[in-house]
């Protein structure tokens, strides 16, 4: 007989249970937002140190972290305290994510609970055998350098642990909020973007598609490389919905009108629509998208027909910017910045490296005070992981030679992570002024280049 039970092609088990966890205030807000927007097939939960915030949330499943450490107050923007609090509640966390196939973490980095707690939760989840996807937000620039630094350190720790880290810049997400709009709207816009992408990712992994995208694809599209994620989502109805949906997706705040996609090696595209979606529409959409995509980019394509969509059609674009010039690889934590011969650096292998990476961190003299945290956390949370820190592997530690600490220090606070492909940065800067006569016309984009911008500008030829 033919076996009609659906077989799963991806890494996730067939009926993988997904737990959605928001950590800290920002994380809880995001989860609130996601719940309000509606989410199927995932159980949401929030973890916070601040009792007040917990009660304010609409999420039914709640866990208070470190009631002894913080006494029900917040972590006061101190990741140390967040970490301590999370450590105190390790058992509860472990219980909360028990037998979960996948854990999606949402945390706003930079503060106390999010920055300190998220790596702990990620590690616990990882050790429980779950796949871990982290949606992290980096603080707004105006929140100051210290927060930024804390956020980056925490992000790095998360990257070591999680399977996929999708990182959002609050600054970028606030960009399309009108300048007169209140600050709360900027935050709301950020939450909404994350909410959309979380739901999109859940949808990707859960909905049965004509052309299915599995976890493996998601992972190769995003990986855990220290690259900022680019996410775009668009949904439209009506006669021209294919174009409109794509247009909206490209207008998503992280997309930079499609210009950034060209930098991606792997592009994950998921198209879904109601039963009346035609193949021609999908073709139109993909053709239009292809104009933005570089020649070597691999497109991981998924297609779903979803009765719930009605007349609408939606497109989700997700990728991590490629590390073309190697510039992005510089974003390593400082503690790796040790006199070790640069070996073939492969950052994405998480598992074993994590412990090794983190272990030597503590004794490192110049390491930032924050950096021993993950290591300590290791000790406490997962005793078995600590055994591994094999001394022999340590010298192989990937040390991108070009990773000067200064780059990290200077660039990080001011330049948005998402927008960093350094080779083209100049063109991007010029862009708004330099389409001249063609300002209002449809851009002519071939191979990702906007041909309306004078050639000499794009080629960087000096004109006297």
């Amino acid at each position: 007989m033919i076996d009609l039970t659906p077989k799963n092609s991806s890494g996730a088990p067939p009926d993988v249970s997904v737990r959605l966890i928001g950590i800290g205030n920002a994380g809880s807000n995001t989860i609130d937002r996601i719940l309000l927007d509606g989410l199927e097939k995932a159980e949401a939960m929030i973890m916070n140190t601040d009792q007040q915030e917990l009660t304010r949330s609409v999420v039914p499943n709640q866990l208070q972290l470190g009631s002894n450490v913080t006494h029900g107050l917040g972590a006061g923007g101190d990741p140390e305290m967040g970490l301590d609090a999370a450590r105190e509640s390790v058992e509860e966390i472990r219980a909360a994510i028990e037998d979960c196939g996948m854990v999606i973490l949402s945390a706003g980095l930079g503060g106390g609970t999010g920055s300190g707690g998220a790596p702990v939760v990620a590690r616990v989840a990882k050790d429980a055998g779950a796949l871990v996807i982290v949606f992290a937000t980096m603080p707004f620039n105006f929140e100051g350098r210290r927060r930024r630094k804390q956020a980056e350190e925490s992000l790095e720790a998360l990257r070591q642990i999680a399977d996929v880290v999708i990182c959002f810049e609050n600054d970028r997400m606030g960009e399309n909020v009108s300048s007169r709009a209140g600050a709360h709207q900027a935050f709301a816009a950020a939450d909404q973007t994350i909410s959309q992408s979380v739901r999109a990712v859940c949808g990707l992994l859960h909905k049965r598609g004509l052309v299915r995208i599995g976890f493996d694809e998601l992972r190769s599209a995003l990986g855990t490389l220290p690259a900022p994620a680019v996410f775009g989502f668009g949904q439209a109805e009506g006669e021209n919905r294919a174009h409109e949906a794509l247009e909206k997706a490209l207008k998503s705040p992280l997309m930079d009108r499609g210009k950034l996609i060209e930098k991606a090696h792997n592009l994950l595209v998921s198209v879904s629509g109601g039963p009346d979606m035609t193949l021609a529409e999908v073709q139109v959409m993909m053709d239009a998208l292809n104009r933005f995509v570089g020649e070597d980019t691999q497109i991981l394509f998924g297609l779903q027909v979803d009765g719930g969509m009605g007349q609408a059609m939606s497109i989700t674009i997700l990728c991590a910017l490629s590390l073309g010039g190697g510039a992005r690889q510089l974003l390593r934590p400082q503690e790796f910045y040790t006199p070790v011969p640069p070996a073939a650096a492969e950052i994405s292998q998480v598992e074993t490296h994590v412990t090794e990476d983190l272990e030597p961190a503590a004794p490192e003299g110049e390491a930032s005070p924050f950096y021993d945290e993950p290591a300590v956390d290791e000790d406490v949370v997962l005793p078995e992981a600590v055994e591994e820190p094999a001394a022999p592997t340590e010298p192989e530690e990937p040390v991108p030679a070009e990773a000067p600490e200064t780059f990290f220090e200077e660039e990080a606070p001011s330049v948005s992570n998402v927008k960093k492909p350094s080779e083209t940065q100049e063109t991007l800067q010029f862009e708004p002024v330099n389409r001249g006569r063609f300002e209002k016309s449809e851009p002519t984009i071939v191979n990702g280049e906007d041909l309306d911008v004078p050639t000499f500008l794009r080629r960087n030829v000096r004109i006297k």
Partner: protein, 405 residues
């Protein structure tokens, strides 16, 4: 004279609206009666962006043409361009019914319909399906299969399609002026009718029409269109580049491009400058000639290189024995043929338009290539829609209005 004997071509270009009125004598010879011109506004990259303004320009040009030719215009052939146009080759196949032995005229229509049986993007409509070759029972290179005995009739078509609404916009723009649209024609195809001779088409040729906002190209092999397309980069881009690079107004940049621009580098002595006169006629800014040429060169080179990449996806360009023929306003830039030759590695020259009766100024200016080509196209289309290479051309306006595809 009967109205039917007048053919009118209308091009709503990015830089100008051009109307050519010609009379068709009974022996098939064309005589140009007059050319109407109006500067174009409201058109960007070959497509109408400001409906009302564009309509006014069309009106002006038509009035001008009526004045010059003393003919009342009531129907025009309209050239269509824009980056939304796309093309591909497709084969239609039909099998003849059992009892029928001979291939009949009606079978040609059937195979044409079969050639069109392909899914276009939803919002697109067919503009042209140009016949390439017939095959009868697998036998290649049949020119006219009518009367032949066969079971299976196949035909290759070159299909040009575009977004229906944008094509309709051009049609509406003309209709609102009170003139009927006889047919819409891809600009590149129209320009090729005058830029290339029959012989050149047979030998194989690449025609590049460099307009104000777009560049059209058509590749002929064996007398039929094998590849065609539009790149939304044209003379305007060069002007814009100059304007930005030298920080001068667009109008002045345009004049500088026309008067002094060249794509040849390394030909100027250092210190060779052009002095720009300001509005009052006094010498103003001095511009290094080499700088100007560099800006123009970079743009033209890039555009040709993009085109080359596109052409290399199919290898029809390898069989362009007659070489490259450049036409359109942009082809007047100095040295552009030399640059084309260098980049494509095929002999390139400026297209010479075959003489027609009428004012010579009309056909000596490559800017009128499209409008003139429309007349040629119209003649072929009117005189004979049956056999020969003329049958390549079919009616499509009814299709555009009554249900697409």
């Amino acid at each position: 004279m009967a109205k039917a004997n007048f053919l009118v071509g209308l091009e709503i270009g990015t830089s100008k609206v051009c109307v050519v009125v010609a009379s068709l004598r009974s022996d098939g010879a064309l005589k140009i009666e007059g050319v109407g011109l109006a500067p174009s506004r409201g058109v960007r990259k070959g497509e109408i962006v400001d409906f009302e303004t564009a309509g006014k320009c069309v009106h002006d040009a038509l009035v001008d043409a009526e004045d010059k030719s003393n003919v009342e215009i009531d129907g025009v052939y309209v050239a269509i361009t824009g980056s939304h146009l796309a093309s591909f080759n497709n084969r239609g196949i039909i099998t003849l019914p059992e009892e029928q032995e001979e291939i009949e005229e009606s079978d040609l229509d059937d195979v044409r319909a079969a050639g069109r049986e392909i899914e276009l993007p939803k919002e697109n409509a067919f503009m042209h399906e140009l016949l390439q070759h017939y095959y009868v029972d697998g036998q290649e290179g049949v020119l006219n299969p009518v009367g032949m005995i066969g079971r299976r009739l196949e035909a290759d078509f070159h299909i040009i399609h575009g977004i229906a609404n944008r094509i309709k916009n051009s049609i509406r723009c003309v209709k609102e002026v009170g003139v009927e649209v006889e047919d819409v024609v891809f600009s590149g195809l129209a320009a090729a009718q005058v830029a290339l001779t029959r012989n050149q088409k047979n030998l194989g040729a690449l025609m590049i029409d460099i307009g104000g906002g777009t560049m059209e190209f058509v590749v002929y092999n064996d007398g039929v269109v094998k590849q065609s397309g539009v790149l939304a980069v044209g003379g305007d881009h060069i002007t814009n580049d100059i304007s930005m690079g030298l920080r001068i107004p667009m109008a002045r940049a345009e004049k500088l491009k026309v008067d002094e621009g060249s794509v040849i580098l390394g030909n100027c002595l250092p210190g060779d400058t052009i002095s720009l006169k300001d509005d009052s006629g006094f010498a103003g800014k001095e511009i290094e000639r080499e700088t100007l040429n560099t800006i123009v060169h970079l743009r033209v080179r890039e555009t040709f290189e993009l085109l080359k990449k596109t052409l290399e996806r199919a290898n029809y360009i390898d069989y362009a024995g007659a070489g490259i023929f450049l036409t359109g306003g942009g082809s007047q830039i100095q040295g552009i043929d030399i640059l084309a030759q260098e980049i494509f590695d095929i002999p390139a020259q400026l297209a010479k338009v075959e003489t027609m009766a009428g004012p010579t100024a009309a056909f000596e200016n490559p800017q009128f290539a499209v409008a003139l080509g429309l007349i040629r196209y119209a003649r072929e289309n009117q005189v004979d829609r049956g056999g020969g290479w003329l049958s390549k051309i079919s009616r499509k306006v009814p299709r555009l209005f009554g249900g697409f595809r």
